[in-house]
Symmetry: C2
Subunit: 129 residues, 2 copies
DNA sequence: TTTGTAACGCAACTATGTTGCGTTACTATT
DNA sequence: AATAGTAACGCAACATAGTTGCGTTACAAA
């Protein structure tokens, strides 16, 4: 495992994640960066942060890719929690405590699971649109 | 709901789905089509078939999009079954009978769920690589 | 046979992500 | 504080997936 350096661009990305309660796409991050760095650099920073288990990657039902901070409150760090994708505001939030239970045929070996729910988030449900 | 016509290209796509046990990407379909039609046409056919509930769209963990026939054996037609994505052969199969159970905070309204498992499929598990 | 329009081909465009390469700037070591 | 190895960077170019506009074709109902 290589050493990852602290750079201006990386710190900027981390600060943006720190402020955000929801998952962010590359484009959303870029627009909050005020041209601190090139868009390629953002891709590379995101890759590194995923590798270092600082953020995790989420692929939405519509194929859009977002990233969210990892919650390290638990001793054992897993990403197998559920994600909620709002059809109205398109925000994606981690539902850290929602974990599905399921039964799978024995001849499959499961390494990773992805569980995404879509519908209306509390915000959009209240403003009933 | 508009009428959808029967065309040469659409029939060709349906035949390919008929033969395939696993989900297919746009590219995979195109390569099996022997230039029957333009690639844009394939996109439009896939859109129509999804709309007509003949196939359903699956977004994999890695962001790749595939399509699979719908199973209409059940009276009530739902797509909320699980999908299995093999990390070795990259095939995606529908696990029609695997349905997750879960508890979600009451302030969310769930309209759709996506449950994808990844790991090794029976084929690749046997040939142990 | 006629006719309305769904479906098509083609070209052009957009969005998203990747790669190669020369340069910059972190950080461990002297 | 100076040195040096290399992670990280900018830039250009490329790759892939999907979309849009528009004039033309061909399906199916009348």
């Amino acid at each position: 495992m290589k050493i990852t350096r602290k750079t201006v661009a990386k710190s900027a990305v981390l600060e943006i994640f720190g402020k955000s309660k929801t998952a962010l796409s590359h484009t959303e991050i870029q627009s909050q960066m005020n041209n601190v760095c090139d868009r390629v650099t953002i891709y590379r920073i995101l890759d590194r942060l995923v590798n270092d288990d600082i953020i995790h990657k989420i692929v939405n039902l519509d194929g859009t890719v977002k990233y969210a901070k990892c919650n390290h409150a638990h001793r054992v760090h897993i990403h197998n929690h559920a994600h909620f994708s709002c059809e109205n505001c398109h925000e994606i939030t981690c539902l850290e405590n929602v974990k599905p239970s399921y039964i799978i045929p024995h001849n499959y070996k499961v390494n990773d699971i992805n569980f995404t729910l879509s519908g209306l988030c509390p915000n959009c449900l209240n403003s009933n649109n």
